[in-house]
Symmetry: D3
Subunit: 115 residues, 6 copies
Amino acid sequence: MSRKIEEFNRYRQEMNDRLLSAGNNKIIKRIFNLDTNTYMDGALDSRTKEMLGLVASMVLRCDDCIKYHLIQCHQQGVSSDEMMEIFGVANLVGGTIVIPHTRRALEFWEELQLA
Amino acid sequence: MSRKIEEFNRYRQEMNDRLLSAGNNKIIKRIFNLDTNTYMDGALDSRTKEMLGLVASMVLRCDDCIKYHLIQCHQQGVSSDEMMEIFGVANLVGGTIVIPHTRRALEFWEELQLA
Amino acid sequence: MSRKIEEFNRYRQEMNDRLLSAGNNKIIKRIFNLDTNTYMDGALDSRTKEMLGLVASMVLRCDDCIKYHLIQCHQQGVSSDEMMEIFGVANLVGGTIVIPHTRRALEFWEELQLA
Amino acid sequence: MSRKIEEFNRYRQEMNDRLLSAGNNKIIKRIFNLDTNTYMDGALDSRTKEMLGLVASMVLRCDDCIKYHLIQCHQQGVSSDEMMEIFGVANLVGGTIVIPHTRRALEFWEELQLA
Amino acid sequence: MSRKIEEFNRYRQEMNDRLLSAGNNKIIKRIFNLDTNTYMDGALDSRTKEMLGLVASMVLRCDDCIKYHLIQCHQQGVSSDEMMEIFGVANLVGGTIVIPHTRRALEFWEELQLA
Amino acid sequence: MSRKIEEFNRYRQEMNDRLLSAGNNKIIKRIFNLDTNTYMDGALDSRTKEMLGLVASMVLRCDDCIKYHLIQCHQQGVSSDEMMEIFGVANLVGGTIVIPHTRRALEFWEELQLA
């Protein structure tokens, strides 16, 4: 796996662990739990929901959220052709302000293909 | 059709017409044209893209954009069970700040079912 | 109670009921439940948390969320002098883009004093 | 003057007066004062600054702020051809989420031409 | 003091100095001055206002603003149990898009405890 | 040229190239093309439009977009006195949440003067 993906996963995991083992964290814990449940198969399959999570993260311009959903989309078998159209919707709705996040998203996405 | 849906469509159409017939509107015109193209069938089908457009509109909290994509999702045969899961993703990612928009979205969605 | 407050409460209650009685609404239900728990007394008292919820709603510029937290702050005995300082923080951090929401917030707050 | 413009000005003035005469409003007062100073002639003329204020209001999607700066731009002699290009920048940078605000902006702008 | 805290303070101080010594900076200067005044004891004490500033910074997702208010909250004696509840409100209102910022906030907060 | 400016230009160019040579990128390509056209001389000159693009990028708080428009403004001969007033409008409208971006903007702007 590329160093960028590894580093992303490592920091994310370490800080999630610290948040989930911190004192008085009931609300945070429940939000994390809800986060897991929201993307599970239901009336919509998990794959579609991960694409929804990705486009939401892109228009809200959160690089770490984008990376997380790129990983999930990759595991769910989203193709590069599909990904380019998600990028299209995000940049259309969210505007050119999304372009720098799209550059970083493409770089991360291409590393996932090699992983 | 309900008065709310009609009124929404009427104002949207009228002002779009005025934007598209205004002078010196080349950029706006091309954005409108791009908007149409982005949601067409491609690697992802139009139905999925409309769901992407909806969730993006919800987390960015634009009521009119939400209504527009609700109409499109309805025409594409998105079910109420699927819609509730889109609402779920939007409220999870975007937070409780999205709830008031979800109230209005549900109201509009239910009117679309009766239309 | 003023008509504005009544109308706000009525619509909010009606649409919450419809969201909570809709099919396939597990995620939405849990977010609503979490919403209630988050503002309860804990290490911080409920009064402080409602002020936190209000300032968050103001900088994110959601009028309905602002109204809801204004009602809660009023019930928790927040004074008008305290409220003006919350408005101050929100307008400083969020910028003059928050001013129109502050106008509507003051109007609603003053109606709550008469209620 | 059109009823929409009049109503906008009336409510804005009334609530500004109430904010400026409220108790404990030192921070709000100073923000209002700063607001006035920021758009005065300087290295950039007031006309350019009002266009800057307008585009900022459009991408942040605040209808009342947009209306206010439309009034100022109109008084500073900004032409409809120039306005369409400001709309272009705002919709490009901010995305199609700005379109509904652009519809309302155009409507208000056209009423200002008749005023 | 940890290197992260030191580096944050150093860059912030250096660039603030350059902003405050730049030519034609009257508006920026007054905003900085207002910033200081807004968080002073008043009807609400400074400690509460710093918590308001923090939650506003979290939902608006500005890491540097978050760090600054974490430092202030730490100096005002906010406890880790209280901090976790502020994190709770921010993540509930602002959504899971706030989680990556919460990870970095917890890391910085824990370094402040050791400082 | 300073290393920061060079590095910014290099990464931007490389990732733009990869986006523009990726498969199925029609929408992205057209957005890039539109981006170029929007800032060309028209009823408003390119210089004014770059200032509009900059203030929009500042209130939306996108560091890379800010850097790009700083480069363009520099090439169009915007003076440091004018720049400080753009910073003023952005910080007033967008609030103190814009300050950290203004620090980085000033640093980049000063490097551009030396370039």
